[in-house]
Amino acid sequence: MTATSTPPSTSTPYSDLKAPTTARRLLTQPTTGPLIALLLACVFFSVSTDQFLTGGNFSLIVQQVMVVGTLAIGQTLIILTAGIDLSCGAVMAFGSIVIAKMAAEGSLPPLAAIALGLVVCAGFGLLNGALVQKVPLPPFIVTLGMLNVAFALTHIYSEEQTVSNLPGPLTALGQTFPLGKTDITYGSLVTIALFLLLAYALSSTGWGRHVYALGNSPEAARLNGIRTSRLTIGVYTVAGLLYGIAALLLISRTGVGDPQAGQTDNLDSITAVVLGGTSLFGGRGSVLGTFIGVLIVGVFRNGLQLMGVASIYQTLITGVLVILAVTVDQISRRRAR
């Protein structure tokens, strides 16, 4: 974050509005680099350990990244507008406790509890967006504050207790169905569907083009008739809703409502976004890149574990990867200018 003093991207917002040919688009996507890195990592681990390249293991990796992955979709949207969200993990944790407690203690039917959790998370997003846009305040500060608010509310409301004995509908997304010989969880499908949906929305709708335009230059976007205020608040609200879905996925994965959850997920989601080639300065990147970014983290964690490498090295390698990814982003910007 020390590089925030560098001038914003000089790329014109209009270059993103043109529809390039398919072949050209594939070659020049900022996701191409991360994708090559992911494939190389997969090849490396396939050669290193014979347990890596199995359907079951890939299903496992997707399950392991679905929560952070879903958070990272929201994070990508916000970062594309040149914002940042430090509160995503804490908001998700609060959402998961709301859903779990409401349903487990019988105050609400399970589906109503889930709906309430989604609304609460979207509400946090709305509040973030409104503070960023209307006061206005820097996103870093707003979401840093909201991180503490949501964290505290989680612990106050849960009374530091893990909520177990959850009714069936809450963990339904953790159930599996067989695909060939591989068991896939429904939650993995939800995550993949969300990635595809938001990728479509960003690349092929007016709303998506407006998000990129806003990130490139809010002033230019406004002068071109984009209602930037509504757009910003909308993006934060959609992100909040996605955190609510992540909360449900989290519950389905662990089978409990855990007040300690998500404490590093804000930085983990930013890591995924950056690894996926999205620029922290806004206007450049994609959610498919973020999907590749979370998979890179998941593949390294899983592959190194299968090889028997201690977990602290996994952290070390993730750190190096992030610095490399941002370095490459900076170099490519300098060349572009």
Partner: protein, 338 residues
């Protein structure tokens, strides 16, 4: 400015990431001591999952597991949460270890309840699951538990403090762990039981998270509330040293009795230096060593370890009191961890 300028950056990115893959290789070759990448199918694998990588208690545990694994000719895999309380990180580690085909998993659960569904899944796949140091809730979620008897650890220092006070009226401060954590509650209750006191006799109780600076703040506040405090029970030695610093600032370090639990090397040296009067020493190395042995037995003849095994606790002090069994700090330093 056009999109074509991004092509070289993509290649650069890929090249950079290849470099990291190479780094991964180096890390595994030099760092972990378990870097054999060829995984023969006959090799027995044991997984150890601790709360964190960095706490000396868990470092010692890992050391015990590594030594025993080497001696028994089995392969040890290790993992840890990112922070104390990182349940999702431990769940991921369990899944990866089961995928790697471990015979058994040894785990110090970060969240006694939240970890249960993941452990049940591992057990369903035929993996022997043993909790080290911290029990799960319910305890039946694991096959066996190898841990310190924390109630007894508390009782020992309670009895010691009672004897050391020689009938003087005690004003007790309790520097506890955190609400709802069983280890902290058991030690606290054990201390009161050993001392023959109840919670009503505690003049000041504060949570410290087992942290030295929080222990100091808690002690400063307790002295503010009740200047006459003369017995301090602490959850662990970092909290005890924090209390000592606070007492020293008030010139009270000589006439206040501090007792603690853990037996880490820093803590044991503090007992030797007279900063802490006595501590109940526990043995993480033994927990892990016994755990690895249990998995080896299971791999050999299919016999599963079960129930609770007390890995022992010893009262360490240089000012022994009549009627209370203890060992001196020379013994304590020979057996300490960290």
């Amino acid at each position: 400015m056009s999109r074509t300028s991004r092509l070289p950056s993509s290649l650069l990115r890929a090249a950079a990431c290849t470099g990291v893959a190479a780094l991964a290789l180096t890390a595994c070759g030099s760092g972990s001591g378990s870097g054999s990448t060829s995984t023969g199918s006959g090799e027995v694998k044991v997984g150890l999952i601790t709360k964190t990588d960095t706490n000396p208690f868990f470092v010692k545990m890992k050391e015990g597991a590594e030594k025993t694994a080497k001696a028994e000719g089995v392969k040890l895999m290790t993992a840890a949460g990112k922070f104390d309380g990182d349940n999702a990180g431990q769940v991921t580690a369990i899944e990866n270890m089961v995928a790697a085909g471990v015979k058994g998993i040894l785990i110090t659960p970060s969240d006694s309840k939240a970890i249960v569904p993941a452990l049940e899944k591992a057990k369903a796949k035929g993996v022997l699951v043993i909790a080290l140091d911290t029990p799960t809730e319910p305890e039946s979620a694991v096959d066996a538990l190898f841990a310190t008897d924390n109630l007894k650890a508390g009782e020992l220092i309670g009895e010691y403090a009672k004897a050391a006070m020689k009938g003087k009226t005690a004003k007790i401060a309790a520097l506890d762990l955190a609400p709802g954590v069983s280890v902290g509650i058991q030690r606290h209750n054990g201390f009161l039981k050993g001392f023959g006191a109840t919670d009503k006799d505690v003049a000041c109780a504060q949570d410290t998270g087992g942290d030295q600076s929080k222990g100091q703040t808690a002690m400063e506040n307790c002295l503010q509330k009740e200047p006459g405090i003369n017995v301090v029970y602490t959850i662990n030695e970092p909290a005890a040293l924090g209390a000592y610093t606070a007492l020293k600032a008030k010139g009270r370090e000589k006439d206040v009795l501090i007792v603690s639990v853990d037996g880490g090397c820093t803590g044991t040296r503090a007992v030797k230096d007279g900063k802490i009067a006595a501590t109940s020493q526990q043995y993480p190395l033994k927990m892990a060593a016994e755990g690895v042995k249990a998995v080896v037995t299971f791999a050999k003849d299919g016999k599963k370890a079960s129930g609770y095994t007390d890995t022992g606790v010893t009262l360490i002090t240089d000012k022994a009191q009549d009627g209370v069994d203890s060992k001196d700090t020379a013994y304590g330093l020979d057996n300490c961890w960290g």
